[in-house]
Amino acid sequence: MIRRRISRISGLLSIIGLAVSMGMLVIILSRSLRLSELMLSIVVTSIGALAGMYSMYLVRFANRLPRLSPRIFLSYSHKDQDIARQVAEAFRTNGARVWLDQERLRPGASIGDEIEKGIADADTFVALLSGTPSPNLLLELVMARAKGITVIPVLLADAEVPVDLQGLQYVDLRKAPGRGLEELVRAAT
C-alpha cells in the first residue's frame, strides 16, 4: 500500500519535474535567442519527438533499404545442430548475419514470436533437411512464403522433401559437403 503510494507520488513528481524543467529551459531559450533561432530550435525539437513517435515506421522504412550484410534464417532439426552451427559459421565468415534458434531463444521466450521476428527480418530462408524435419518447419515456411523471401532447401541426408519445398532447386551436401557449402554460401549471400 505504502509502496504503491510512493510509486504514484514519484510518477506525479516526474511529470511535474519534466514540465518545470522543459518550461524553464524554453523561457531561458526565448530570452537568449532571436525569434528565428527560437523557431528553428522548436522545429528541431519537434522533429526529434516526431521521429520517436513514428520510430516504428522509420525502422520499417530503414529495414527495407538495401543491406550491407544479408540476413539468413536457418531452419534445422535439433539432431543436426552441429552441422547447422558449421553452416552458420560459413555464412558469417562471408559477412552474413544468421538467425539460429540455439543462440536466440532464451528460457521463457515465446518460440513462435521469436521465429516470426527472425523471419520478418531475414532476406533468405535456408532449410536444412535430414531424416527428421524440424517440428516448426512448416510454420516457418508459411511465414517465409508470406514475406516473399528466397527459400533454399539443403539436403543433408536422404530425406523426404516436404511438398512445399519440392518445386525449389536444392543444394546437396550429401556427397561433396565442401562444394555444396560453397554453392550454398554463394546463393544465400
Binding site: 510518477g11 519534466l18 518545470v20 531559450l29 535567442l33 526529434g48 540476413r71 548475419r97
Partner: protein, 161 residues
C-alpha cells in the same frame, strides 16, 4: 567553414540532430553482430543526449569561471597601474559583470537539466516499457529524444551568449 560552424543552422539544428543520429547509429552497429536488425529501441538515445548536455554545461561553466578569474586578475592589474586606463577598466568590468551573471544563473540551469534527467528517466522506467525488451513510442522514445535535443540546444545557446 568557420562561418558555417558558428551559424544558427549548425548550432541549433545540425549539431543536436547530428548528435542524435550518431547516437542511434552507434547503438545500432554495436549490437550483437550475430543477428541484429535496426529496431525502434535504437532511437532511444534521448537520455544519453540529456546526460551529454548536462556534462557539456558543467564544462562550459568551468570555462566561464576560469574566464572570470582571468578578467578579475586583468582588472586588478589595470586598477593597480600608476595611470589607470579608464576605457580598458570599463571593458573589463563589463566582462566581469557578464560572466558573473552567467555563473549566477548556471546553478539554476544545471539543476533544471538534472531535474529533467531524473524526471524523464523516472517516466521511462515507469511507463516507457511495453514488454521486457520493447519500448513505448511516446514515453519510451519520443519524450526523452525531444527533451534531449532541447537540452542540447539550450546548452549550445548558453555557450554562445
Amino acid at each position: 567553414m568557420e562561418e558555417f560552424l558558428a551559424s544558427p543552422a549548425f548550432r541549433y539544428a545540425l549539431f543536436p540532430i547530428g548528435s542524435a543520429a550518431l547516437g542511434v547509429a552507434v547503438k545500432c552497429v554495436t549490437r550483437n553482430d550475430r543477428y541484429s536488425s535496426f529496431q525502434k529501441e535504437d532511437l532511444a538515445v534521448g537520455l544519453e543526449l540529456m546526460l551529454t548536455a548536462c556534462l557539456l554545461f558543467v564544462v562550459f561553466t568551468t570555462d566561464r569561471a576560469l574566464a572570470l578569474l582571468e578578467a578579475n586578475r586583468q582588472l586588478a592589474d589595470v586598477l593597480g597601474a600608476p595611470r589607470i586606463d579608464a576605457s580598458q577598466a570599463a571593458a573589463l568590468q563589463t566582462q566581469v559583470q557578464l560572466l558573473s551573471g552567467k555563473l549566477a544563473l548556471a546553478g539554476w540551469v544545471i539543476s533544471l537539466l538534472f531535474l529533467g534527467l531524473w524526471s524523464v528517466s523516472t517516466m521511462v522506467r515507469k511507463w516507457g516499457w511495453k514488454s521486457e525488451t520493447e519500448m513505448t513510442p511516446l514515453i519510451g522514445i519520443a519524450v526523452p529524444l525531444g527533451f534531449g535535443i532541447l537540452a542540447l540546444i539550450a546548452v549550445m545557446a548558453g555557450a554562445v551568449q
